[in-house]
């Protein structure tokens, strides 16, 4: 763990904003780490490590803020749960980072683990947009509405670039590939409709 005390060069954030950012990262970093090992993507693994570093910085910022805010023992007691949540989030991101690092060191996921990961309640799927995919030219929210499928877009890969958490108004292009988290049923529909064509 890093305890960087130097200025990160950004505007000071409030405790609230730091916590919101940490929570948002913690929600997606685990899915991203699983995506990296499931689809053997070093790019996604590197994005995971970036987010892990970001959470380290946020945790330091939060510690400083919280220490400065406490004037009495009573204050300090009230502020403790905030620190413990932030530390928990940091632990989640560390575990996600360890999973991603494994891939970067050249280890692959055992086929049986891969198989099992396709059977969980909410699955992560990759949809490749070949030239005849009906998804081409549509935005993520259009696809969601038209197919009546709710999904969380995790990563969009376009021409060697990896976009984490693409916006719902992003238009899809030919040869993109998309990684989303959805229900088993949703995954089936998305792959069937969007992944057609060669």
């Amino acid at each position: 763990m890093k305890y960087r005390l130097e200025d990160t060069g950004e505007e000071p954030k409030s405790v609230r904003d730091i916590l919101i950012e940490m929570k948002n990262i913690s929600e997606k970093i685990v899915d991203l780490a699983f995506s990296s090992v499931m689809f053997d993507s070093e790019d996604i693994a590197r994005e995971v490590l970036k987010l892990e570093d970001r959470v380290d910085d946020l945790l330091t910022m939060l510690r400083v803020k919280v220490l400065m805010a406490a004037e009495t023992a009573e204050d300090a007691r009230k502020l403790l749960p905030i620190l413990s949540i932030a530390v928990s989030i940091d632990e989640i991101t560390n575990a996600a980072g360890d999973l991603a690092k494994m891939l970067l060191k050249g280890f692959k996921l055992h086929p049986l683990v891969l198989e099992a990961l396709k059977m969980v309640d909410e699955v992560i799927v990759r949809i490749d947009l070949k030239h005849s995919s009906p998804f081409i030219g549509k935005t993520l929210s259009q696809i969601s509405h038209e197919l009546n499928v709710d999904f969380t877009p995790l990563v969009l890969c376009r021409g060697g670039k990896t976009i984490v958490s693409p916006d719902e108004n992003t238009k899809l292009r030919q040869n993109d590939y998309l990684i989303v988290k959805t229900t088993t049923l949703g995954a089936e529909t998305l792959s069937k409709v969007g992944g057609v064509g060669v």
Binding site: V15, I20, L79, E91, I92, A95, D98, K108, L109, M119
Partner: protein
Amino acid sequence: MFKERISKVMNMIIELKNISEFMVDLAYTALLYNSVELSEEVERLEEYVDDLHINYELNILSLAQFEEDAGKYLGALRVGLVAESLADAALSMVKPILNGVEPHEVLRIAINESEETILKLKVDEESEIRDKSLEELRLQETVGVRIVAIRRNSKWILNPSSDTRIQADDVLFAIGSLKDLEEFRKMLGSK
């Protein structure tokens, strides 16, 4: 024997991943409503995940000894560790509630303002969704929300299955974006 062990391990991965992800949602819900009951559920599940995880690791280690390349199983162990740390994190989040400390207001705000949030809704007598099963409702597909828990009388149904039927007076804990939750609230016609 080997085959049996493999299918056992696969089921463990599925269970570890489902429960640990659910626990984090549950912990945030507990913080949002300062709920001792939900916190106790998190605590109970954490003990369960601990046991499951130890058992899982032992099984992986036994499988790995038949393998030339043990590195193949490293990933399996790390997947387990992600689940374990999610479960631990969920528990430390609700520890203050279990110790009688009310969560600081800023936490509630942060949970409410993040991308996904949790809404608590009561089902009334005239509600459209009454007596329907979660499978029939397909909430995730139609409105984009997921029911993570139901409180019925004084009992909890955690991570309800698709054949669970909604009853009048049920208290639903739904997770989703603010926009989707608002739509869901309208659909229920509840306050």
